[in-house]
């Protein structure tokens, strides 16, 4: 698919030209994670218990807050209209856009997560499950967030509205994601939960773009 390649190329180029879009979600993640030990105390014993939960919740907030750059500038400069009038299959264009957004805002979090997890004293056997769960979970977050963003991009001051709309939808991902790490720490199998997350991802990949397209049509008109 030529259009998928072209869209990926375009989005990644834009992201690398305005590095804030990549760095800021990552920095938000890093700073917010560092706030927790300051808030709840630096006791190692204690930190390891909350490490996975804190990392997951913060990653979730970072992904949600990074959504703003997905459709906003396209909406404002009229590219979104052109996109909706494209004769190429919209489903794949949207998927490529969301995918590249995940690559620049979600993937760096996943890569950096183990560093901060071990700063929060997460035991070693929890590291790999954490990364695996984030790797499968954050794309779901990005897809769901994209639906919310598509719904609110036409509103002049969306701000925290997006948070109120999509945070509740994030709950299952959070529960299963932290569940994976929990099972690993309790020496239980993680395959089942990861498979469940995988199934959710497949569901999101197949349905979310349709919802996004519908939402974008509403926002543009």
């Amino acid at each position: 698919m030529n259009i998928v390649k072209a869209t990926l190329r375009r989005e990644l180029l834009i992201a690398f030209r305005s590095p804030g879009d990549i760095i800021n979600p990552l920095m938000f993640f890093v700073i917010a994670v560092s706030l927790f030990p300051l808030g709840v105390g630096a006791d190692q014993e204690f930190l390891r218990e909350i490490a996975a939960g804190v990392i997951w919740v913060t990653a979730l907030l970072a992904v949600m807050l990074s959504m703003d750059s997905l459709f906003r500038s396209d909406y404002e400069d009229g590219s979104l209209e052109q996109l909706l009038l494209s004769p190429q299959p919209l489903y794949f264009i949207i998927l490529a856009k969301v995918c590249s957004h995940w690559l620049v805002s979600g993937l760096p979090l996943v890569i950096l997560a183990p560093v901060f997890a071990s700063m929060l004293a997460l035991p070693e056997q929890g590291l790999f499950p954490l990364v695996a769960s984030l790797l499968i979970g954050t794309p779901i977050l990005t897809l769901l967030g994209a639906v919310g963003m598509a719904l609110t991009v036409g509103l002049s001051r969306s701000g925290l509205l997006l948070a109120v709309l999509i945070l509740p939808l994030y709950v299952p991902v959070l529960v299963f994601g932290t569940g994976v790490v929990d099972s690993a720490l309790n020496s239980l199998g993680t395959a089942g939960l990861l498979a469940l997350l995988g199934a959710m991802l497949i569901l999101a990949i197949s349905l979310a773009p349709l919802a996004i397209i519908a939402a974008l049509r509403i926002s543009v008109s």
């Binding site: 590095p19 804030g20 760095i23 800021n24 920095m27 890093v30 700073i31 560092s34 030990p37 300051l38 105390g41 630096a42 006791d43 190692q44 930190l47 071990s118 700063m119 004293a121």
Partner: protein, 254 residues
């Protein structure tokens, strides 16, 4: 004295003087760093407690203190820019952020690496570590703000305001974090080995590396500031001459 300070605010004077000073500075820095590093790495006896790994101190300690100094320098330059509108001050402040960030990163990295054998973990939420980490965030924040502005002057002013707000906060952060930590866990278990109590063979190389690294810090700031001068003053006649001279030289290779 005042005249000299006044001269410092002239980009042209800074450019020429720093250009003349550079070879000396580079020579001195290479000498100090070279002697210090070789001495420290190979010729000082091992520490009776930590063995060989205390050699990390030769870079860790100066890196940390220069990084902190860099933040204060950035804030002073910010004040000079906001109050007296000295353009040179903004150029130096702009150079301070990335240099300070890399030095903070160096202190963090060497400290963490050192922590693995000595503390058994590469990170604890100790007061000094935490405040160093936050200083790194402050540097990154300043850089992010500047890159978000299209206009050079507006970006400079905004960064100056942020640096000053930050510098008011730095002591508060340091104090608060120190206070916070002692309540939760004893800092005594982490007390860092005291260089003053050690024999001169151990701390002499530290002086060499310390001053050498400081020299390097100056070089890094000066290099960036010189670039900035060329870019911002490109319409000045003397810069035009410098540019066309270097362009002529470079045309061959480009």
């Amino acid at each position: 004295m005042w005249q000299w300070l006044y001269k410092l605010t002239s980009p042209k004077w800074f450019y020429t003087i720093s250009g003349q000073l550079m070879p000396w500075l580079v020579g001195l820095t290479t000498f100090l760093l070279g002697v210090g590093l070789i001495w420290g790495l190979a010729f000082t006896p091992p520490d009776y407690q930590m063995g060989e790994n205390y050699r990390i101190a030769y870079i860790h300690v100066p890196a940390a203190s220069i990084a902190m100094g860099c933040y204060y320098m950035m804030a002073i330059m910010a004040a000079a820019f906001l109050i007296w509108r000295i353009k040179m001050a903004d150029m130096v402040a702009k150079a301070c952020a990335p240099v300070g960030m890399t030095f903070t990163a160096l202190a963090l990295f060497t400290g963490s690496v050192w922590g693995i054998p000595t503390w058994g973990t590469w990170w604890i939420w100790d007061a000094r570590l935490t405040s160093t980490l936050i200083m790194m965030f402050l540097f990154i924040g300043v850089m992010a703000l500047r890159s978000a502005y299209d206009s050079e002057t507006a970006g400079g002013k905004a960064c100056a305001v942020l640096s000053l707000v930050g510098v008011v906060n730095v002591p508060i952060i340091k104090y608060s974090v120190e206070w916070w930590n002692t309540l939760h866990q004893g800092a005594s278990s982490l007390s860092l080995s005291n260089t003053a109590a050690n024999p001169p063979e151990i701390w002499m190389p530290a002086f060499f590396v310390g001053f050498g690294l400081f020299g390097f810090y100056l070089i890094a700031i000066i290099l960036r500031t010189r670039n900035e001068i060329l870019i911002r003053e490109r319409k000045a006649e003397w810069v035009g001459e410098v540019l066309s001279a270097t362009l002529l030289v470079n045309q061959g290779e480009v």
